[in-house]
């Protein structure tokens, strides 16, 4: 695979800001991959996306598209309209005075591919998202989901080399979000469009990405596949951001070596005094056994449909007590006050 985009040491500080919005950010994007920038609000992910698009200047660092340097430090060497990047805005930014068809056709005829028959291309694109009959409508006459789809095909229409998406699903409600998220991934993959997607939603990131870049306060925390991020988080912040996690001290267990049977205990999680164990890597048993880590009393049991999240209070050898979260997938029942042995899942 070829590297399409190289980001090298990009930093940015806004006037009167306490800290840098971006601090020496570096990563690569491979041709055809879907890369997600994940971070809480204020992590600098949107600023980064805007710098890549050429809508914002950096303070230092370089951005290369293909082998061409497009941004260097404060200089935008190539303006946004000549970068051949598509951008899906958070609020879609559909032109309210243009019909849907005109919105989609807006970027056509100026792309690198010359001037294809526009009308045909527009209706093909609209059909692709099943909105062929909406070409004559105005954006304010569409639903939120329809607007999102139009924003996506408008950005895809000129066959951009790189598609940038800024929180594209955040303005949609939950059920629609999941549907559109999957639909969008399928469309992007079918178009073989290299994509950078910005989101604050870890679940979205895990679901759609080929690779994930985790940003926190302008600093890249980890770059990896979803499984790497979930299974081998580089630090406690990432571990807790991408799903529930038990942060345990080895001193809380009579025999800490038994913890190593848990799947999520991988380096670097194992290295220190602290261990991070995901709730699904723990199981419960009513009988004692050689694998048993500790004994706990059920505090609460939350039903999640496909699973059940149990919180237990467990005495530690030091006299205090710790709280453990265990995810159960079977039909085992646990009610408040029950006593269980906690052991590695599958043991």
């Amino acid at each position: 695979m070829n590297t399409l985009l190289e980001v090298r040491g990009v930093s940015k500080r806004f006037p009167r800001a306490e800290r840098a919005a971006l601090d020496k950010v570096s990563f690569d994007v491979e041709e055809g991959e879907l890369l997600t920038l994940v971070g809480a609000s204020g992590s600098g992910k949107t600023s980064l996306l805007r710098i890549l698009a050429g809508l914002e200047t950096a303070d230092e660092g370089e951005v290369r598209l293909g082998s061409v340097l497009v941004t260097r430090g404060r200089a935008i060497l190539r303006p946004p309209e000549r970068r051949h990047m598509g951008f899906v805005f958070q609020n879609h930014a559909l032109f309210p005075h243009l019909k849907v068809g005109e919105n989609v056709a807006f970027g056509l005829g100026q792309g690198p591919s010359g001037r294809p028959p526009r009308r045909q291309r527009v209706s093909d694109l609209l059909d692709m998202v099943g909105l062929g009959e909406l070409a004559g409508r105005y954006p304010h006459e569409l639903s939120g989901g329809e607007r999102q789809r139009i924003a996506l095909v408008r950005a895809l229409a000129p066959n951009p080399r790189l598609l940038l998406m800024d929180e594209p699903f955040s303005s949609l409600d939950q059920s629609l979000r999941l549907k559109l998220r999957d639909e969008t991934r399928r469309l992007i993959k079918r178009q073989q469009a290299t994509t950078i997607l910005v989101t604050h939603d870890a679940e979205d990131a895990l679901a759609v990405s080929d690779r994930i870049v985790v940003l926190r306060e302008g600093v890249v925390q980890q770059v990896g596949t979803p499984a790497e991020i979930y299974r081998r988080p580089a630090n406690r912040y990432i571990a807790s951001s991408f799903g529930p996690c038990n942060f345990l001290s080895r001193a809380d267990f009579a025999d800490p070596t038994r913890l190593e049977a848990c799947r999520s205990i991988e380096p670097p999680a194992l290295s220190g005094e602290e261990c991070w164990v995901r709730p699904e890597d723990l199981g419960l048993s009513s009988t004692d056994g050689p694998q048993s880590l500790t004994v706990g009393v059920v505090l609460q049991s939350l039903y999640h449909g496909e699973s059940r999240m149990i919180s237990l209070e467990c005495p530690s050898p030091q006299g205090s007590s710790i709280e453990l979260q265990v995810r159960l997938h079977g039909e085992e029942r646990a009610t408040r006050g029950d006593r269980f042995h906690v052991l590695p899942a599958g043991a």
Binding site: A53, L55, P79, P80, E81, R82, M85, G86, F87, F89, Q90, N91, H92, A93, L94, F95, P96, H97, L98, F106, G107, Q110, G111, Y138, P139, H140, E141, R154, A155, P158
Partner: protein
Amino acid sequence: MTPLRSSTAPAGNNLTAAAPGHIASRAVGTALIWLPAACVLLPLLIVGWRSLGGAGTAWERVVQYRLWDYLGSTALLIFLVVMLAIAVGVTCAWLVSAYDFAGRRSLEWLLILPLGVPGFVAGAAYLDGFEQATPLFLWVREHVGLEAFLFSQRILPWFGTVLVLVVTLYPYVYLSCRASFAGRQADLIEAARMLGCSPVRAFFRIVLPLARPAIAAGAALVAMETANDYGVVTLFGINTLTPGVFRSWSEGSLVSAMRLALILLGLVMFVLVLERAQRGRRGYAGDTRERPLARRPVVGGKAALVWIVCGIPLLLGFVWPVFRFLRWGLAASNSADWSGYWGALFNSTWLSLLACAVVVATAFWLTAGRRAHRLPGGDSIQNMASLGYAIPSALLAVGIGALVSDLSRVGGLAWLALSASATGLVFAYWVRFMAVGIQPVAAGQAGVAHDLHAAARTLGHTASRALFRVDLRLLMPALTGAAMLCFVDVFKELTLTLVMRPFDFETLATLTFRLTSEGRIPEASVPALVLVAGGMIGVAALNRLMRSPR
């Protein structure tokens, strides 16, 4: 406008337990809601009805000799003024919205200042420029020929009228465009650039089309003001419909005057229909969560260029007229008729205060009062009451003038003829400027959560008490703004005042206009400057009302 006393309802409007007193008070309240709209329609009905009567040969003569001249001049003047005002207003609004330069914030409000200069005041400052140009015309006659000379003589008044109207009216376009450009378009412009548009192309494909309703709204105001203008066209001798109405009236042909006024109304309505029709089905408002435009900094020569471009209308519409009147005023201070000035100032002030109080009370009642008391009649009531602004002053004047003179002929009402001219005048102001009060107050109310009134009601306040303790307080900024605007509009009003005022009664506007048209411009400088100073109140109000949503 007195508040409703819902005395019998224990805590607000309990419709199921409506006592007779309650029903009565609701009936009065409802009547009061409809009264302003009815009063706006009254002059229209009178003029419509009376113009059906026989006009004899007077109307035939008007049609034969003057009507087409009136129509042509009015249409041409409106077209020229509107086009140029759009060019000036859009350019200035874009420059102060899209660029950041030294003094931008000052320029932002300086550009509204010409709105505070009444057209006939600005016109007076340019009138004598014609005399200065005499050598130029002599040169034209000698070197270019007689035809060119005659042509230049015909063009010159047009040049003056258009110039004066454009530089005093462009702020309407400027203000509405500035509000549109301040609206969150940054995302849309960036989206256009990501789709391959250069910044210049993005301006023409995105910014301008999106601003079209704002441009049209501003342009409609400019067109109405131009159609209504009496002072400037009279000073420069252009025969438009408004002076035509008064000419027929002063010649004693009331029916001709009314018919001409109706034609003028038709023209204004045509403009308003155009303004409405251009919107179509399209959307214009961006998403409210989008970001406003980031201003591009410009320095040095480019910043100077921006100042020069924006400075020209400011100079022509404000600085130059004020400067000239200041100089005249200083030179002529010993020949000034101070008692006349004081009398005019007194008259202008009390008329403006009275009209402004009535208008603001009406606006409050039609918006907050109607909602608080759940009185029937939706927003259409507000729209109907606001129609007065579209009724030409000339039509209001002949309609209300006819009404007053008819009433005074009824037995026992002869006294009306004397006092009614002042009453009629305030009534005319009320009808004409009701919209000036309603619009800011309605906009202000849209920003006030209805929950706040509801909260007061659940805490045991009656509708009226909540209206005064909650709504009135919350609407205070909007009401103050409306009051200031209205005060200034009446303060500098010329057309209605000129024809409806009682005998020998001068306001600052009529005094300035009379002195100017008698060629006594230096003597007019004191009232003219006071008018401009008063106009600044309106500018301050506008600036505040425009700024708040940002």
